[in-house]
């Protein structure tokens, strides 16, 4: 509505990010850039917990480009020692870390207008959107896909009411679970799952980019 008035108050990086969405180039399944991402967080409460790290990797067609990857660790104010045993990220680790603001800014620069893909996207998306809110910024504008929902579109899925964790999908698709519970590792695994699901769907029927978003309005993990 009066969005254009607010624009002036946003920092440059947000405006730059925003501009990406002005272009109206039509993309297809093989030409569009997907960014598969994952966040590691201090816990599962999207309000009180914080992002520890973001891992992401770019994918176009059937090619995952390792030069086009993103891996960022964030300095913490709140810290939940309980989750350290899952993700292994200590408050004072030896890995170089940046502030939340810096990480979000770099992430926006990296994703541009790509389609975001994650496993249980809703959670990771909310974590990022909440971080944006803390910076007084609006939510992400990118289209999103969820590998669990996509998987349920395939014929391999026979129990639609069941939840499919990343581990479960790794088993189904026979993917080695390396670097599980690191943001980048999970993002990479998710990207392989994504490629396999797309291949399955293609085999079952002729699909377009649009088809992937159909029936997306189901709730994720939350």
């Amino acid at each position: 509505m009066l969005n254009w008035l607010k624009h002036k108050d946003y920092p440059d990086f947000w405006n730059e990010y925003h501009k990406n969405f002005n272009s109206k180039t039509a993309h297809t399944l093989t030409t569009t850039r997907f960014v598969i991402f994952d966040t590691e967080t201090t816990g599962l409460n999207t309000q009180t917990d914080r992002i520890l790290s973001i891992g992401a990797i770019g994918l176009t067609g059937n090619v995952i480009d390792i030069t086009d990857s993103f891996e960022m660790y964030i300095t913490q104010d709140t810290f939940n020692p309980e989750t350290v045993k899952i993700h292994g990220i200590l408050k004072q680790g030896h890995i170089t870390k940046v502030s939340e603001k810096e990480a979000i800014q770099l992430f926006l620069e990296y994703i541009k207008d790509s389609i975001l893909v994650a496993h249980h996207t809703r959670f990771d998306l909310t974590m990022i959107n909440n971080a944006l809110a803390r910076l007084q910024l609006p939510k992400l504008k990118n289209k999103t896909l969820d590998t669990e929902i996509l998987f349920k579109k395939t014929k391999l899925c026979n129990q639609h009411n069941q939840r499919y964790s990343l581990d479960k999908l790794c088993n189904i698709f026979n993917i080695a679970m390396h670097d599980r519970h690191t943001a980048s590792g999970d993002a990479y695994i998710t990207s392989l799952i994504f490629l396999k699901i797309i291949a399955l769907l293609k085999k079952e029927r002729k699909i377009t980019l649009k088809d992937l978003f159909f029936g997306q309005n189901r709730r994720g993990l939350l």
């Binding site: 891992g55 990857s69 891996e71 390396h178 670097d179 980048s184 990479y188 291949a199």
Partner: protein
């Protein structure tokens, strides 16, 4: 910045050649720039006539097939295999299709980046050349010759030295501490030694070597009238007498010395009993086989011969570990085998109540006949005796059968198992007079069938071990005469030589045995070694070359006779050497004949080595097919 995914790629690539030759830094740079490609089953990565990509590929998961026109599968690449190396030459088009045979994940690596990285890495460079060579249609180009496996470094520990105790000179040349340098030098000269131990009350206190005389006397630093104590190295390094060769080597290296004093309890406080020089070690290592052969000549019991043969078996392991040329190893081991067998025959003759009634020769057949037997395998032998009158025939034959019985029993005791097919001289079928052998061989040649051809491949590689050389020569002449008259025999032999086509590549269960106790194992003898051996035999026989049994020598001879095919013959000989070494190593490490190989136990490098041997087999078989016009027979 940390890059978890690149690290994962790094962890994968580091296990495979050529990447394992790279430094961590080089490999990490490459890993960071990898593109991961997902291929559905039946999708193409590139097609023939397509312009080459600026990337080459390595299979991460799944399998990619390389096809020539009309879906002819040329090669199957699975985990860790690289393909599309054509990109490295940066121009032209692909000559093969690359298609995913199953759902696959492939890493694509920038050829430009790899080039930058490997320019300084000779090992990686060589490997890529070799791989490229085996993937091209002409792997025998002169540039790559010999480099095919030159990059394979096998630095093993020298195991046989560790068990062997060093023998030292038991009468060391000594002098007392009051001796003048001049007198000491005179003693050394008279005794023809390079060192003298200075002792006090039989305990070593110092040593003077030629080097001391050079550096301290000839330079004028010390006068020759001075006392030995002025120039001797003191204290001396002492060891007890059970020191092993490798201990001695290490001690010499550690102390940078060339002589060790051996004392009763290994300290300078006990009496000197000997001296061990670097020269002794060299002699010891060089002389092992010949010392062993001398030992056989003195052996008077079968047990002693068995010990000798087992000792040779241990040397074999050491030679392989030292990466000694396989041809040299076969010569040494065959020489020992020969002399062990000769001695067993002599001992058997001595046990007989009377001397052999007529001249005879004892022949070994098959791999022994070709001097290619390295491991303990079955004994294959035959006996040939001079013609006798019909009246004396049965008595003579019985004599030789009895003798053969004794010999084969002894050979079994020594470690050569009986041949399950009873291809042994104690079988009356294979203990024949010259006339009978001639007729037999003539029959095989003129009226061949599958069984006779098979027998020919074993019997025609005979070698005389003991007895009358003239008899065997006559027999050989008669074989060549028969062949000359019935040349069609060579065609049958040729047909036999190509009946086992080489495997295409290793791929899961693609070419392993499908049934029996060796299910899922690779039969290196039937599928790789015998085709090369058979090819050499038929070709050498077609040139009517006599007394040339050894496969390597046969190919050398063939290369000499047909310069136009020199490259092919040389690569066959090389492939044979690699395969023989491989089989022997496998046999030693598993304590069996090494014939069946579990592919899973092989490293990537070993699999590539084997794979490289299949190409020459394919080519030599093509040559035989054309030369003997076998397509008409087929």
């Amino acid at each position: 910045m940390k890059n978890t995914i690149a690290e994962r790629v790094f962890d994968f690539l580091k296990n495979y050649p050529p990447f394992h030759f790279l430094t961590q830094e080089q490999l990490y740079t490459i890993s960071q720039n990898v593109k991961v490609i997902y291929l559905e089953e039946h999708t193409y990565l590139f097609k023939q006539e397509e312009r080459i990509h600026d990337h080459f590929y390595i299979v991460k998961d799944g399998a990619v097939g390389l096809f020539r026109s009309l879906n002819t599968l040329v090669d199957k690449c699975d985990e860790g295999d690289i393909f599309g190396l054509r990109a490295l030459i940066r121009k032209g088009n692909y000559i093969l299709d690359a298609q995913a045979i199953e759902e696959s994940i492939v890493y694509s690596i920038s050829s430009k980046l790899l080039e930058e990285v490997i320019q300084t890495n000779i090992e990686a460079n060589k490997f890529l050349l070799a791989t490229f060579a085996t993937n091209t249609r002409n792997p025998y180009s002169n540039q790559e010759k010999g480099t095919l496996f030159a990059n394979v470094n096998t630095l093993h520990r020298n195991t046989f030295d560790e068990v062997q105790s060093a023998s030292f000179s038991k009468k060391p040349i000594i002098c007392s501490i009051e001796t003048s340098i001049k007198d000491a030098a005179i003693i050394m000269t008279n005794q023809r030694v390079g060192s003298i131990i200075v002792t006090n009350d039989d305990k070593p206190i110092g040593i003077i070597t030629d080097k001391d005389l050079r550096t301290k006397i000839a330079t004028g630093k010390v006068l020759i009238e001075a006392c030995v104590a002025d120039i001797m190295s003191s204290p001396v390094i002492t060891y007890p007498q059970n020191i092993s060769v490798s201990e001695a080597q290490i001690a010499m290296l550690q102390h940078k010395i060339t002589h060790l004093c051996i004392t009763e309890d290994g300290t300078t406080e006990s009496n000197l009993i000997g001296i061990l020089s670097e020269h002794d070690l060299v002699v010891l290592q060089g002389n092992n086989p010949s010392a062993l052969i001398k030992e056989t000549k003195r052996a008077i019991t079968t047990d002693k011969l068995r010990d000798i043969r087992h000792k040779a078996h241990r040397y074999l392991e050491g030679y392989l570990n030292q990466n000694m040329p396989i041809f040299h190893i076969t010569k040494v081991i065959s020489a020992i085998n020969r002399s062990v067998m000769q001695r067993a025959i002599q001992l058997s003759i001595e046990e007989m109540s009377k001397k052999p009634p007529v001249a005879f020769s004892w022949l070994t057949l098959g791999s022994q006949g070709r001097s290619e037997q390295l491991l303990f395998t079955d004994q294959d032998n035959a006996l040939l005796f001079d013609d006798v009158s019909d009246n004396n025939y049965s008595e003579t034959k019985n004599y030789f059968l009895l003798l053969s019985e004794k010999i084969t029993t002894k050979l079994k005791q020594i470690g050569f198992e009986y041949c399950p097919a009873k291809m042994m001289a104690n079988n009356s079928k294979w203990c024949l007079s010259l006339k009978e052998w001639k007729e037999q061989f003539n029959n095989w040649i003129t009226v061949p069938n599958e069984d006779k051809i098979l027998l020919s491949t074993i019997f025609f590689d005979y070698q005389i071990i003991y007895g009358h050389q003239g008899l065997t020569n006559t027999l050989s002449d008669s074989i060549f005469e028969s062949i000359k008259r019935y040349e069609i025999f060579l065609n049958f032999l040729g047909l036999n030589a190509i009946k086992n086509p080489p495997p295409l590549s290793f791929f899961k269960h693609f070419l392993v045995e499908h049934s029996g106790i060796h299910k899922n194992q690779f039969d290196i003898k039937a599928r790789a070694i015998m085709p090369i051996v058979d090819a050499a035999r038929v070709l050498i026989l077609s040139h009517a070359i006599k007394n040339q049994n050894n496969t390597i020598l046969r190919y050398q001879k063939l290369a000499e006779l047909e310069p136009q095919n020199k490259d092919l013959y040389e690569s066959c000989a090389n492939a044979f050497k690699i395969l023989l070494r491989f089989r022997t190593q496998q046999g030693l490490s598993h304590g069996n004949s090494g014939r069946f190989i579990d592919l899973k136990s092989l490293s990537k490098l070993d699999r590539l080595k084997l794979k490289g041997c299949f190409k020459p087999i394919k080519d030599i078989q093509e040559l035989i097919q054309v030369r003997f016009k076998l397509s008409q027979i087929l």
